[in-house]
């Protein structure tokens, strides 16, 4: 009891009637107040939300950003995944260790700062990047560390590139904290246009627009919405869930929209709710996006106050819709749609078995349309620019535009919106080519769960049909560029480390396979590999891909095995015994 000042008890009283779904918010609140979640606090939460103590504990342990041990309120998180690592993250970390006189994972003697090396923070275009509590920083190097610690570095701001800018229409131009500014720049015209039409008519346009899910699985969005619309259930019990977990290493496109045009996401989600006939909206944002969280919450509040959320939206009787924000806490798996539902429900982010699918059994086992941020805003863009204009760019099978997250060794890393027909070479040229006059070594496409391409494959057209044929996942649009200074073995090691860290552990092939893969790549990158390692890696890949429960395990070996195919010598060299 001793540790609990009134604010937390009061907070628990306020939320207690909602039960288990408030577990994540409660843990965030506790972390905000105390820096960590003591056993005592866990027990209070357990009582207030009627969740068994063992499960509160299990949820705390599941997320990287919650702590059971005394931890500073100020946690400095430095990304050490490929883009940042290739940009010099380890030198930054060493300098931080030296200046704070602690090792990674430790808290300073005065308890004021905890230092952590973490997985991708979604700011790859500013590599190497870090979060100082809630304040983002980028382009770090050992020289800038003292300014970083003093809080003197400006927060990095990403610039959108490309043409036409339909999805990123307002990004970088609009004041993301102002509804008035949003409205002044054409905001909510799409929704107004939409509600003059029937949901059925809108669904037809969506089908025709060819918009596929942009969270990775490429499921036709119109079809998904129609399935939820037709699923048994009342609008009160149907959900639209926005997947803003964006934790795939190399992905940061959604962050641009969340931070720089949050009202667009709210409008797009409201549009989805109209088409589907769903009254409950949720946005699940990763915990490493504090700036996005603040701007989204502000936008939701303003939209609600102005009647853009709530009852009888736009004066249409029965058009009721509201959005609740949920913040993750450091778990890549929570981007997997069913794990995300579990997280909102206050459980460990374990993926569920499918079927049943979310369209009938989603959040709270009710019909749910879950979509990626970009998908929703793209659907809104279709309405805004009109179906004809949308289909006029791209290819027949991949109409419209797509966001690409270009990071690594290019002159101008950032988010690029391009029509689908562009080639990888076009994109790299737009990004200023390989920086510092070095040679291109490899491009990682689709993220950690993606695949590598070699310099000779740059004429690949970035469309669904071409990438599928080339067996290169477009995924979430990751294009991570490595020049010839990089040791690819280290990159592969980092990818393996990522999956080992992020495997949720629910199913055995992935829990163990990700560990084994990591051990092998550790040997490869830092020690002496065994001769049979290559074969074992192949077996692991086979088993994980074939038998894992969810997409994480099924794709956790894909980038690494693509590298093995492209550059067999990488693993064969200096193998012994």
């Amino acid at each position: 009891m001793s540790q609990t000042p009134e604010p937390f008890a009061t907070y628990l009283d306020e939320i207690s009637h909602r039960g288990r779904t408030m577990l994540l918010p409660a843990l965030h609140k506790a972390t905000e107040l105390y820096g960590w979640v003591s056993q005592d606090v866990q027990e209070q939460i357990s009582r207030a939300l009627r969740v068994p103590a063992a499960e509160v504990h299990g949820v705390v342990e599941f997320y990287s950003m919650f702590y059971q041990q005394p931890t500073a309120k100020r946690v400095i998180r430095v990304c050490e995944d490929p883009a940042c690592s290739a940009g010099g993250a380890s030198a930054v970390l060493h300098e931080l260790e030296a200046q704070l006189s602690i090792q990674v994972g430790e808290t300073t003697a005065d308890g004021s700062v905890t230092l952590e090396a973490v997985t991708c923070l979604g700011m790859c275009e500013h590599a190497p990047c870090a979060l100082d509590a809630n304040k983002p920083a980028g382009m770090l190097d050992p020289q800038s560390v003292s300014a970083f610690l003093a809080g003197e570095l400006p927060e990095p701001v990403g610039m959108p590139y490309g043409n036409p800018l339909w999805i990123l229409q307002r990004v970088g131009k609009v004041d993301p904290t102002s509804l008035a500014d949003y409205l002044a720049m054409g905001g909510y015209q799409g929704l107004q246009k939409a509600i003059a039409q029937t949901p059925e008519a809108l669904l037809e346009q969506l089908d025709a627009s060819g918009v596929l899910g942009r969270g990775g699985a490429q499921f036709p969005t119109g079809r998904k919405w129609r399935m939820v619309r037709q699923a048994a259930g009342t609008p009160q019990n149907k959900h639209v869930v926005v997947n803003a977990d964006e934790s795939e290493p190399g992905t940061f496109k959604d962050r641009y929209l969340l931070e720089e045009d949050p009202f667009a996401l709210i409008e797009a989600t409201t549009l989805a709710s109209y088409v589907i006939g769903a009254q409950q909206g949720w946005i699940f944002v990763r915990g490493e996006y504090p700036r996005a969280v603040a701007r989204l919450q502000n936008a939701i509040d303003q939209a609600r106050a102005a009647g853009w959320l709530g009852k009888n939206i736009l004066g249409q009787k029965g058009f009721d819709f509201d959005i609740e924000l949920r913040v993750g806490a450091g778990a890549y798996i929570c981007g997997e749609e069913t794990a995300l539902f579990e997280a909102i429900e206050g459980k460990r982010g374990f993926p569920r078995i499918k079927p049943p699918f979310p369209v009938t059994h989603g959040l709270f086992h009710q019909p749910t349309a879950i979509n990626n941020v970009e998908t929703l805003v793209a659907a809104l863009a279709v309405i805004n620019v009109g179906l004809d204009a949308w289909k006029a760019v791209g290819t027949e099978k991949s109409p419209g535009t797509k966001l690409f997250c270009v990071s690594g060794h290019v002159a101008k890393p950032g988010v690029y919106e391009l029509p689908f027909a562009s080639t990888l070479a076009d994109l790299l040229a737009l990004a200023g080519g390989v920086a510092n006059g070095r040679q291109l070594q490899a491009v990682l496409m689709g993220g950690a769960a993606g695949a590598f391409v070699a310099p000779h494959q740059l004429d690949l057209r970035l469309t669904y049909e071409d990438t599928r044929a080339a067996n290169v996942p477009l995924g979430s649009g990751v294009v991570m560029v490595f020049d010839d200074s990089v040791d690819l073995r280290q990159v592969l090691y980092e990818l393996a480390r990522f999956f080992k860290h992020e495997s949720c552990g629910k199913c055995f092939p992935c829990q163990l396979g990700s560990q084994r893969q990591y051990e092998i790549l550790d040997r490869l990158a830092h020690h002496t590999p065994y001769t049979q390692d290559l074969q074992t890696l192949g077996n692991i890949g086979y088993t994980m891909t074939k038998t894992s429960l969810c997409g994480l395990g099924q794709t956790a070996t894909s980038a690494i095995s693509s590298a093995v195919r492209l550059w067999p010598h990488l693993l064969n060299e200096n193998a012994t015994h």
């Binding site: 299990g58 798996i333 552990g505 629910k506 092939p509 163990l512 088993t543």
Partner: protein, 839 residues
């Protein structure tokens, strides 16, 4: 079954109820699809991936919506490109499954190989050696030799105590979550959970004391890889070195079917019970037993057991021969004429009780069951839960009433089954939930699952049940919850009442039993399966005692024995229970252990424990069940019934003692009309049960034993036999004034038998006096303070525990903790120890 579906598994057709899981369907035709995380009693989670199968569905023509047929007229099957988990798929019409294709075999082998590389392979020292699912599975399906290197194995802590009863070997754990899910969904004690994630995931307990659950031992049975072991059995013996015998737990009225694993100890040559395991009886305990049944057996093989007859000579009890002892008893008995009293403990077997009654009544004496504090056995004989009932069948059309007892503390497995009926968190085809009405003066665990919970004041039990009946008859009563509960009963097809006696003396208990009987009779819930009364007796064979024609002692022992010149107590310790016996009487005690009563006796006779002999017990659901000898008799001890028979011979009642227990039983079943037609052979019959747990694949149901020794017979009530019971008017009392003491039942009490299980000592109930904060304040005592509680002339020392759950003006005391012993709700005084010392 209303809705059956036929599917094909490896070409063989099987017809099963709609909703059946594919691996269960396969099991029915003898196809053991390997499973680890799936357990047939729990909802599937699809975690371990070892059950992968190929699944196909008939191709349907899009236009005609008709199945597409091949040339030979059989349907064209579309096989899914990916393997599916057989434990999460439910049968669908036309479905086809392949469990043996190359694709399936390869995937299965890969997964097993994965499992093995992380498994310590310390089979030679593993407790599950010989009955390890993983071992069996690997031999059958696994890869010949592992391509993974042994030195890659993860090294983890192998001896993690999850509390003092269960150990976890983290290296063996495959994180299948069976243990977590069992605790959460079936046992209703969600005290286990996952820690961390990914490969670091591990099982942790989060309760104080660790793994705080009466059901914890079951997790060691269902853990598919031997990662969980009991502190009792750890490294105790290898599965193949042990002998097995079927038994029945007699520690509470549930009557769980068990299996005793015994082994001869190398040095001493004595036999020891190495462990008690559940034995499948889907109508009684399914695959489970509680920890009292599992760990409470140590008394049977305790070195403190009495082993020779003793006779008092010159004031001292000295060793004697049986002949001397029995002759002396016969002589004294005959000398006493009809001034004879028999006191029969309610844990005796039916054969003992029957013979004891014959002996005592044959001499013109009187006999009573001890402690005999609860009424209702006669009502159970008339309107008890009907023959053919199964608590697992209770669903949406059923109402369960729990009155005046704390079901989990008194009869854990009943609670577990009621919980499942009400919550349906475990696997079941019928997901509709029964409604639960809990009537008690205080909150109990059952209340957490109750649809209607009503707190009466002690004394108002009968009135409350009467009001419930009025409500069920459509009258509205003062209390809204009662009105609603009554409505639920009025709409229910099935009604089961669990009757207890918390806070009731015998007369009040009789009134409550009658009120409950009235409720069942008046609402038409008697004489049909899944309806009727279940008495939550405080002893294991109380119903047997009623059925054997013994009447409960119902009051003080002194009152019952009066001035009897000859008294025989069997399995009863009245003096230890704060009762008195006359000084000038000849006292015979037949017992397992020395007791307060035996120290006063003129003759002490050593008896055999349940593990050394055979016999029958009758459960609270009136199932007559056999137990079998498992270990040789201790010393010269004899079974109780044989001792009584020998005396019968000596006093001339019979010519010679029956040659076996079964002969006693046959005689008994002729005389006791409700048992007519029963015999040992009938009780030993079995039939196929679902889930089928027999066979090599222990990974499926766990290591619970299959039942080859008999399912017992649930005897019929008079209502089952067509006699129409009539309800009788009953008068009720009102609430009691002033500070009132009530004893509450605790599973881990400090009784003579349980005290011999040292393992449980840390968990035994303590002398704690529960008081409401306001009552404590009024009495001027504080939490943690030592007080003296005085009830009915007895004084006992207790520590105060202030709890919101205690009604005001009541002091709740755990039963049988070596302090006060009384019945009913009694006026009490509570004073600080300091004050009593000062005074």
């Amino acid at each position: 079954m209303a809705n059956e579906i036929t599917i094909k598994i490896d070409g063989n057709a099987v017809t099963v109820p709609a909703g059946t899981i594919v691996v269960d369907a396969a099991k029915r035709i003898g196809n053991d699809v390997p499973v680890f995380c799936y357990h047939p009693k729990m909802e599937p989670v699809g975690m371990c991936r070892v059950c992968l199968v190929e699944m196909g569905m008939p191709r349907v023509d899009r236009e005609t919506r008709q199945p597409v047929l091949k040339a030979d007229g059989t349907p064209e099957i579309d096989w899914m490109p990916k393997l599916v988990t057989g434990c999460t798929e439910r049968v669908r019409p036309g479905m086809e499954i392949r469990t043996n294709s190359e694709k399936v075999k390869t995937a299965r082998q890969e997964i097993l190989e994965f499992l093995l590389t992380s498994h310590p392979l310390d089979c030679p020292i593993c407790d599950k050696g010989g009955e390890c699912p993983l071992q069996n599975l690997t031999i059958q399906h696994g890869p010949g030799n592992s391509r993974f290197l042994v030195n890659e194995k993860f090294h983890l802590d192998k001896h993690v105590p999850l509390g003092d009863l269960i150990y976890l070997d983290r290296e063996r754990c495959i994180q299948c979550a069976r243990c977590i899910r069992f605790q959460e969904d079936l046992a209703d004690d969600p005290v286990l959970g996952f820690d961390e994630r990914g490969r670091a995931t591990q099982i942790v307990t989060f309760s104080e004391p660790g793994f705080d659950s009466y059901f914890s031992g079951n997790t060691t049975d269902i853990c598919p890889v031997g990662a969980l072991t009991t502190a009792d059995f750890r490294f105790g013996a290898r599965a193949w070195e042990m002998q097995n015998s079927a038994s029945i737990c007699n520690a509470c009225p549930v009557g769980c079917n068990t299996h005793l694993n015994t082994r001869r100890d190398g040095l001493s040559g004595n036999f020891a019970i190495k462990r008690v395991m559940p034995r499948q009886n889907e109508q009684v305990n399914e695959l489970w037993i509680c920890d009292k049944g599992r760990f409470g057996h140590h008394f049977a093989t305790s070195p403190d057991r009495l082993s020779v007859p003793q006779i008092r000579k010159k004031g001292q009890l000295v060793q004697a021969t049986w002949d001397e002892a029995l002759s002396l008893i016969a002589e004294k008995m005959q000398a006493a004429g009809s001034s004879i009293a028999g006191i029969a403990g309610e844990r005796l077997a039916n054969e003992d009780l029957f013979t004891f009654r014959k002996l005592i009544e044959g001499q013109g004496g009187k006999i009573a069951a001890f402690p005999g504090e609860m009424a209702g056995g006669d009502w159970v004989q008339q309107v008890g839960i009907a023959a053919g009932s199964n608590l697992s069948e209770l669903g949406g059309d059923s109402v369960i009433v729990v009155v005046a007892n704390d079901l989990e503390e008194s009869a854990p497995i009943w609670w577990m089954r009621v919980h499942q009926a009400v919550e349906k968190k475990g696997a079941t085809l019928d997901k509709s939930k029964a409604s639960l009405i809990v009537l008690n003066a205080r909150p109990t665990k059952a209340e957490g699952s109750a649809n209607y919970a009503i707190h009466y004041a002690y004394g108002e039990e009968t009135a409350t049940v009467q009001a419930l009946l009025r409500a069920a008859q459509g009258n509205s009563v003062e209390n809204e919850t009662l009105t609603a509960a009554g409505k639920a009963i009025a709409n229910a097809k099935n009604l089961v009442v669990f009757l207890g006696n918390e806070g009731l003396d015998y007369a009040d208990s009789a009134a409550l039993a009658q009120a409950c009987a009235n409720l069942l009779i008046e609402t038409g819930h008697v004489g049909k399966p899944n309806n009727g009364l279940i008495a939550v007796w405080n002893k294991g064979n109380t119903q047997g005692a009623w059925d054997m024609g013994l009447r409960p002692l119902a009051g003080t022992t002194a009152n019952f024995v009066g001035k009897s010149k000859f008294i025989w107590t069997a399995a009863a310790d009245p003096i230890g229970d704060k009762q008195t016996l006359p000084e000038d009487t000849f006292l015979v005690v037949s017992e397992l252990f020395e007791t307060a009563t035996s120290r006063r006796a003129d003759v002490v006779l050593p008896v055999q424990s349940f593990a050394e002999r055979e016999g029958t017990y009758t459960s609270g659901e009136r199932r007559v069940q056999r137990f079998y000898p498992a270990v040789p008799a201790r010393g010269e001890s004899r079974p109780d019934w044989l001792i009584f028979s020998h005396v019968q011979v000596r006093v001339g009642q019979i010519d010679k003692a029956p040659v076996s227990t079964s002969v006693v039983f046959s005689q008994m079943s002729k005389e006791i009309s409700l048992y007519n037609g029963l015999n040992y052979r009938a009780l030993a019959q079995t039939q196929e049960q679902f889930p089928q747990i027999m066979g090599e694949d222990k990974y499926y149901g766990g290591t619970a034993f299959e039942n080859s020794a008999g399912l017992g017979v649930q005897v019929r009530t008079s209502a089952d036999l067509g006699q129409k019971p009539a309800s009788r008017s009953v008068s009720s009392r009102s609430a009691i004034d002033g500070l009132t003491a009530v004893l509450t039942q605790k599973l881990y009490d400090r009784g003579t038998l349980l005290m011999r299980s040292y393992l449980l000592h840390p968990r035994l109930a303590l002398p704690v006096a529960h008081l409401h904060a306001e009552t404590a304040a009024m009495l001027g005592v504080a939490d943690g303070e030592d007080v003296q509680v005085q009830v009915a002339g007895q004084k006992g020392k207790y520590t105060v525990c202030v709890s919101e759950d205690t009604p005001q003006n009541v002091v709740l005391l755990p039963n049988s903790v070596g302090a006060l012993n009384f019945v009913g709700a009694q006026p009490a005084e509570v004073v600080k120890i300091a004050e009593t010392v000062g005074a």
